[in-house]
């Protein structure tokens, strides 16, 4: 497997794990909501958090992947995107 394929594979896996986790929590949240359970909101929060973290994890994977393959310019650009995302989290 070449390095580009490796980065693509990491990005795919990171996104799929986060989306699957988010979807699981949200479906659980809906089920709890319809059964009038007080836990519904916690599942909704966990699901939304898992979804919102997916792009952040994806960017981290790209920073590491491009740095590992010696493409420091793209690694630095990805790092800048991560900094902007963290800025948005603080604001």
């Amino acid at each position: 497997m070449n390095k580009d394929m490796e980065i693509r594979s990491w990005v795919r896996q990171a996104l799929q794990i986060c989306v699957s986790a988010g979807l699981f929590f949200l479906i659980m949240g809906i089920m709890f909501k319809f059964s009038h359970s007080s836990h519904a909101d916690r599942f909704f929060m966990a699901g939304i958090a898992a979804l919102l973290i997916a792009p952040v994890i994806r960017v981290i994977m790209m920073i590491y992947g491009y740095a590992r393959s010696g493409e420091y310019k793209f690694s630095f650009l990805s790092f800048t995107v991560l900094l902007l995302l963290l800025t948005a989290l603080i604001l």
């Binding site: 990005v11 986060c18 979807l23 949200l26 997916a54 960017v59 650009l77 800048t80 995302l85 800025t87």
Partner: protein, 280 residues
């Protein structure tokens, strides 16, 4: 106060399913449809509607990107360059929104939909005028750093292309990001024509790369809305479930279909929503 009933869930998730299918094919987040849908059909305040829309766009983008990245259709290197300025624009847009009155935000959003619908119609005509084979760049240009290639199953050919006009494209990308933050749209409405017409990417690569990018810019704005407690969790949950399943269905079913006809219908629908938003 909105109450999520099983009936409402079916309506919202069903709508999200349609958005997921369209978004995965056209490379847009669908915020231009979701925000008016929540405001007009469920009387949800526009700031909450935008917040919910942004969460759904992140879900749509992540679902579609995971498949397009694996297939090599999304150009990740170009995506990083454009999304850097797009994220900066998105944060700027989200912060400006809190200073805006709801009526003003609604009027601006309505007005923006008209040129966007025209742009989409125009793009449909341009794509129709060109055959897919004409979009293939000469092989000597292939060695550029941002060049890319993918297998297009609709024409059973390997498409290779190079990227041009990266500097003006980056600046326009900032504008696309600002729109995303301001109005809860993905920004794909700007990014897809930008990459297709300015950067010279084939339509499918432009749509896939746009889907790859819009999640990050929407995420930046969504963080701001989420921290301010503007996301209505149960509605976000319902629309996300629909959107994710729609995206996964759309990418498999519609990947081989021609998107120009769907896009024309899309443009007309945008125009109608614009009128409705302006009428309040």
């Amino acid at each position: 106060m909105f109450e999520l009933t099983p009936f409402n869930f079916i309506i919202i998730a069903g709508f999200g399913f349609c958005i997921g299918i369209m978004g995965s094919v056209l490379g847009i987040g669908g915020g231009a449809f979701m925000v008016p849908f929540f405001v007009l059909c469920f009387k949800i305040p526009i700031h909450n509607a935008i917040a919910i829309s942004l969460v759904a766009i992140v879900a749509l983008s992540s679902s579609v990107a995971s498949i397009n990245v694996e297939k090599g259709i999304a150009n990740m290197r170009l995506g990083i360059i454009l999304e850097m300025l797009m994220v900066a624009g998105s944060i700027t847009g989200a912060l400006i929104l809190f200073e805006l009155d709801e009526r003003v935000a609604r009027a601006i959003f309505g007005c923006i939909l008209f040129p966007v619908s025209f742009l989409m119609l125009l793009k449909t005509r341009k794509v129709s005028a060109k055959k897919d084979e004409e979009l293939i760049c000469p092989p000597e240009k292939f060695e550029r750093a941002l060049s890319g290639g993918f297998y297009d199953s609709s024409i059973s050919k390997n498409i290779k292309y190079s990227v041009k006009n990266i500097l003006p494209a980056s600046l326009i990308s900032f504008f696309g990001g600002s729109l995303a933050g301001l109005f809860g749209i993905g920004g794909g409405i700007v990014q897809v024509p930008l990459m297709n017409l300015v950067c010279g990417l084939p339509m499918k690569a432009a749509a896939a790369t746009s889907n790859f990018m819009i999640g990050v810019s929407a995420c930046a704005s969504a963080f701001i809305f989420f921290r301010r407690g503007l996301v209505i969790n149960e509605i976000a949950g319902a629309i996300v479930i629909g959107v994710v399943f729609g995206a996964l269905t759309g990418i498999r079913v519609l990947h081989k279909s021609k998107s120009n006809k769907i896009q024309a219908v899309f443009a007309i629908l945008l125009f109608m929503i614009g009128i409705k938003m302006l009428m309040g």
